[in-house]
Each structure stands twice: as C-alpha cells, then as structure tokens.
C-alpha cells in the first residue's frame, strides 16, 4: 500500500516537474530575443544568397544583379549624390543664429557616429533616429525643424552617413522592456501586410530580393538602411529614410503615417539592429 502510494506520489511529482519544464519552455519562446532574431535574419540571407559577400548586402539591388552592379560602380566614380553631400557638409558646419552648431548636440561633434542610430532613449522611453535627433538639435537652438522628407534633411544625413562610411552598424538594445517592445513593434510592422495591395515590407524584401517589381530589382532587407539616405534616379534627388517609408506605404496604397511616427522609428530600429556588423555604405545611389 505504502509503496504504491509513494509510487503514485513519485509519478505525480515527475509529471509536475515535466509540466514545469515544458511551461518554462513555452514562456521562453514568447520572450523578445533580438540577438536570436538578428542571427536568424542574417543567416536567412546568407544561406539564400551564398555567392553574395556578407558586406555586399548593404548595396541593395547591386548585390543581386551583376550588370546593375557594374553600372553603379562606374557611377560611383562620379556619384549623383555629390552635390547633396557637399551641401550637407556646408550645412553641418554653418552655425545656428545663436552661434552654436550641430557638433554641439552630438557625441564626437557628430562625426563618425551615424552607425549608432537609432538608439533607445531610456529617459524618454522611445526610439530616437538620426533625423529626429537633428531636428531636436535645431529646435533646441531656436531654429525651425526641417521637413523629414525634403532636401535639407537628406543633405545633412548624407554628410553624417559619409563620415561613418565603412563603419559597422552598431545598434544597442538596452535590457529595458520598453526597448524590447519597440524592437518587437518594429519587427511586427515589417512583417505586417498593409495597403490595398496587401504588401508587407517582407513580401518584397525578404521573399523576393533580386526579383523584379515592374522594372525595379528588389533589394534584400538585410542592410537595407545601411546606404541611407539615397539619391534615387526615380526622385531625381536625395531622399531620407522617412521619405522612403512614406512613399513605400503609398505605393502599396496604404495611407502613410506621419514621418517619425512611432511605427516608423521602431521599424528603423529593428532593421538597423538586425544589420549590426554590416558596414555603413551611405550616402547611396539607387535607380
């Protein structure tokens, strides 16, 4: 009798232990793990395109098409973003009305720091992008903010990207539930279908890099922001990350959100983080 009882107890506790182990596993699967996500993201592309050098992914469609790459390399001798870059350098050096400069707002005087953006501001509890930081710098010094989708912001970010060229993307996610939530939010935005055309960012840039959408060759999502801002032949000019998010939304027939709205900042955070280690190639030139 006693033996049977202890056996029953034994099996019950064994069952309980087994249950505890499995529930712990289930809980762990729901936890946000950016490190694992980034590894899986990079491996997906490295395995899908084994002939593409890891650092080449930051060149977007040129990493997917040899002929386009050749034409682009030729143009890089005399890149179309030269004028915007020069304008950006001049703007960066020009003091505000109060005598201060952009250098006063940024670490290392704003030189060679682009790869650290976006970052999670723990005081504010939100993601801060480079474009947002630049406008906050302007407003803190009594200047009107620039439009996120026009030339001035594009020229400024072009210059700052240029000073970081070659440096590996280095985004940090602090051990803060709000930062993890922002990362997860950005990831969700990236994979969610939107617009009447029912496209998600992933539909083109994860499922179909190297394929065509009308006459354009699609870029891989890995490292897609490393070349920003970009001179697009389509725009006959330079455009910011904000501009690209907004136009991409309207191209899928989704009403775009406000530039630098939470979703956009979070998706920039997600895309930049999963490209950690890949070099900054901005400012870029695209078709």
């Amino acid at each position: 009798m006693k033996a049977r009882f202890s056996l029953q107890l034994g099996s019950v506790s064994a069952a309980l232990v087994a249950f505890a182990l499995t529930s712990a596993h289930v809980v762990a699967a729901d936890k946000v793990d950016p490190v694992a996500d980034a590894k899986a993201f990079q491996n997906f592309f490295f395995q899908k395109f084994p002939d593409v050098k890891h650092e080449d992914f930051v060149n977007g469609p040129y990493s997917m098409n040899e002929d386009m790459k050749r034409q682009w390399q030729e143009k890089e001798e005399f890149p179309p973003y030269e004028f915007a870059l020069d304008a950006g350098k001049e703007m960066f050096a020009t003091p505000f009305k109060n005598g201060k400069t952009y250098a006063d707002c940024f670490p290392n005087g704003g030189i060679g720091i682009r790869q650290n953006y976006p970052y999670f501001d723990e005081r504010e509890g939100k993601v801060v992008t480079l474009e947002l930081a630049l406008n906050r710098c302007r407003e803190a010094n009594g200047e009107a903010p620039y439009s996120y989708v026009k030339d001035e912001m594009a020229s400024l970010t072009a210059y700052m990207a240029f000073t970081s060229r070659g440096k590996p993307m280095d985004i940090k996610i602090p051990d803060d539930p709000r930062a993890l939530a922002a990362f997860e939010n950005g990831k969700r935005y990236f994979y969610t279908r939107r617009g009447q055309m029912n496209f998600s960012c992933a539909g083109c840039h994860v499922q179909s890099p190297g394929e065509r959408i009308r006459a354009e060759t699609l870029a891989p999502a890995l490292g897609i922001l490393n070349a920003m801002p970009i001179y697009r032949s389509e725009w006959s000019g330079m455009g910011t990350t904000s501009r690209r998010f907004v136009t991409c939304n309207s191209q899928t027939r989704a009403v775009p959100l406000e530039p630098q709205s939470d979703e956009y900042r979070d998706v920039e955070y997600f895309l930049s983080y999963v490209a950690n280690g890949l070099p900054i190639s901005g400012p870029g030139a695209r078709p």
């Binding site: 996500d37 899986a40 993201f41 997906f44 990831k187 969700r188 994979y191 969610t192 279908r193 939107r194 617009g195 009447q196 029912n198 998600s200 992933a202 539909g203 994860v206 499922q207 309207s250 027939r253 989704a254 009403v255 959100l257 979703e263």
Partner: protein, 101 residues
C-alpha cells in the same frame, strides 16, 4: 404554377426596387456608413489610399447632383474601408507566419 406566381411577383418587386434611381437620402446613408468605417480604419492606422479617394469621388458626385454615382462610390468606399479593417485585425496574428525565425 400557383407557387411560382407569388415568387414571380416577389422577383418583379425586387427587380423594380433595384431599378429605382438613388436619391440624396440613399447617398447620405451610404456615405455615413462609409465614413464610419473609414474612421475606424484610420484609428487602426491601416487606412487605404483608395478608401480616401473613393470617398472623395462620392462626395464630388453628390455635390454635382449625381446620386447614383455618389451612392455607388460611397458603397465601394465602405467595402474598401471594411476590407482594410479586416486586414488590420487578421494581420495581428497573420504576420507571424512571415517572420524569419
């Protein structure tokens, strides 16, 4: 024969009401429904550009007195808005299927 007569009358009635032209009241009802759906889609941050433009088309047609066209456009706008709401709600879970793991 006896059974089919009332059926035939019912059909004729149905067809007759469909053949009646839309009036301002029809348009206003359709537009209100469309606007309500569009508002919900906007609050979900999943509004479609075509919903907005179709609503505008409806309003423009109504302003010009063409209530047939206005009502048809309003109904289409409502359908588009409702589809975008469906997209927003189903994507809440569906996105996970696309995720690289």
């Amino acid at each position: 024969m006896k059974r089919t007569l009332p059926l035939a009358m019912l059909l004729a009635l149905g067809l007759a009401s469909a053949a009646r032209a839309a009036n301002e009241a029809d348009y206003k009802a359709a537009f209100a429904a469309a606007e309500a759906a569009a508002k919900e889609a906007a609050s979900l941050r999943h509004q479609w550009t075509t919903t907005v433009s179709t609503l505008a088309t409806a309003k423009k047609a109504a302003d010009g007195g063409d209530f047939d066209r206005a009502t048809a456009a309003a109904k289409e706008a409502e359908a588009l808005a409702k589809a975008s709401i469906f997209q927003a709600t189903s994507e809440k879970e569906a996105w996970k299927a696309m995720e690289i793991r």
